[in-house]
């Protein structure tokens, strides 16, 4: 191929119209409250891990909704399950339980529970 010195740049636009997101649907089935998040950021602001790491539960939830789990799952390794986020969440989401469920649905295969088709 001739090298013109430039190439096609993949689009940076988030395309969400046809996102198939069976993992998130499974998460939603187990943890219906995940859909209640209003992205207020209280969890992130209070997070014990967030001061030192990138951990942000708000971003985790949003990224999973958008089917972008690859970018975000490593964050969860920093979570200490301390539950501070649960104390401040105005939507009353059981965040610790949610984080554990995320691990079950999205975690490495050997830790993952059987996901229903």
């Amino acid at each position: 191929m001739i090298d013109f010195g430039y190439g096609l740049t993949p689009s940076a636009t988030l395309r969400i119209e046809n996102v198939q997101n069976p993992l998130f649907e499974e998460l939603h089935r187990r943890e219906p409250d995940v859909a209640k998040c209003i992205a207020c950021g209280s969890c992130t602001a209070s997070c014990s891990a967030g001061c030192f790491t990138e951990m942000s539960l708000r971003r985790v939830i949003l990224s999973l909704q958008r089917g972008r789990e690859k970018e975000i799952l490593p964050m969860l390794q920093h979570c200490m399950l301390c539950g501070k986020c649960q104390l401040v969440c105005p939507r009353g989401i059981n965040t610790r339980h949610l984080i554990l469920s995320i691990g079950k649905v999205y975690g490495p295969a050997d830790q993952k529970e059987e996901v229903r088709p």
């Binding site: 207020c40 950021g41 602001a45 942000s56 708000r58 969440c89 105005p90």
Partner: protein, 339 residues
């Protein structure tokens, strides 16, 4: 002799409805538990969106009470159904037998101390929106020395399942922006922040006020809910939130914090609802026969609503509803023959 109608709650809704009922030829009996009429309007200094004085709205109403029998410092002791009438007994020993009752008991401000993580009642420099109105009204902000940075915290006790109030209180976003502008007008050197989840500037001219806050006053808007507040040894406040647009947790030192307390159902309303056997909504506010089609009419004969007893409203909305309720009562009394 003109027919009596009992109106319970002497705030903007109750006063306005009483005046309209009087104009329609009835004798309203207006009952107010506090020593003065006016409800929350009597406490506010200036009103959004234009900053008119609250007094300029309330005073003309209070000067036009001829033909209205009103009782302050008075509550309802009992209400009983007798044929097609309601027998209302008052704490002052009087009683009235009427065919129609209007419930205009309004709202209570959310009790800020319930949100312990914001430190109201613990830290001196954490105050409420209503207290700031008191200060504006008194013409001076006490403890003002050394205040360089102040923050407004939106949604205090609203949109908060933990606080037991899921609803949006509707008026506090625009009140915060109004108070932020007023503060900047008085003290331009102070840096003012608003911490919000969504800015609900729904009404006419509200967006203009927001624009003014940004452009003229340089109010700094941070999109993130305050998660907690702490205090240092000198009394400075440390506020934690996430700057959700930037995607980073943030911590900021403040000299003063104003909590935008929302509207909760008035304390005595459930008891009144029980007396006339009507249900309260899950959110604690009164429930009309149809929230869209008949917002002033209760699902019970002869009971009517106006104002914030059925949920958060602005003053113009409250006054409009009060007139509508007076008309609904008039129609009810004219179309149901006395038995």
């Amino acid at each position: 002799m003109s027919e009596n109608v009992v109106v319970i709650g002497g705030g903007p809704a109750g006063i306005e409805a009483s005046r309209r009922l009087r104009d329609l030829g009835y004798t309203p009996i207006l009952i107010e538990k506090e020593p003065v009429l006016g409800g929350h309007l009597a406490r506010w200094d200036r009103l959004f969106p234009d900053g008119v004085e609250a007094r300029s709205v309330l005073d003309p109403m209070l000067q036009d009470l001829d033909g209205i029998k009103y009782f302050t410092d008075t509550t309802v002791s009992s209400i009983n159904r007798l044929k097609d009438t309601w027998v209302v007994k008052l704490s002052n020993g009087l009683s009235a037998q009427v065919r129609a009752i209007l419930l205009s008991t309004g709202f209570d401000l959310f009790k800020a101390e319930k949100k312990e993580e914001y430190g109201y009642g613990i830290y001196e420099r954490v105050i409420t929106n209503a207290e700031l109105e008191d200060w504006f009204k008194a013409g001076a902000v006490p403890q003002f020395e050394g205040v360089h940075t102040i923050g407004f915290v939106h949604c205090v006790g609203s949109r908060d399942e933990k606080a037991g109030n899921r609803q949006c209180s509707k008026v506090c976003c625009v009140t915060a922006v109004k108070q932020a502008c007023e503060f900047k007008e008085k003290h331009p050197e102070v840096t003012v922040y608003c911490f919000y989840m969504d800015l609900r500037m729904f009404g006419r001219k509200f967006e203009d006020l927001y624009l003014k806050a940004q452009k003229e006053h340089g109010v700094r808007f941070v999109r993130g809910r305050v998660s907690e507040v702490s205090e240092d040894i000198d009394g400075h406040l440390f506020v934690k939130a996430e700057d959700t647009l930037f995607g980073k947790p943030l911590k900021i030192k403040m000299d003063m914090l104003v909590l935008m307390c929302g509207m909760t159902p008035a304390d005595g309303t459930p008891e009144l609802a029980r007396m006339v056997s009507i249900p309260m909504g899950e959110d604690g506010f009164l429930v009309p026969a149809s929230i869209v089609g008949a917002p002033c009419i209760a699902p019970r004969e002869g009971i009517f609503f106006a104002g914030t007893s059925t949920g958060p409203k602005t003053i113009p909305e409250t006054l409009g509803e009060a007139s509508a309720a007076a008309l609904a009562i008039d129609r009810y009394l004219k179309t149901t023959a006395r038995r």
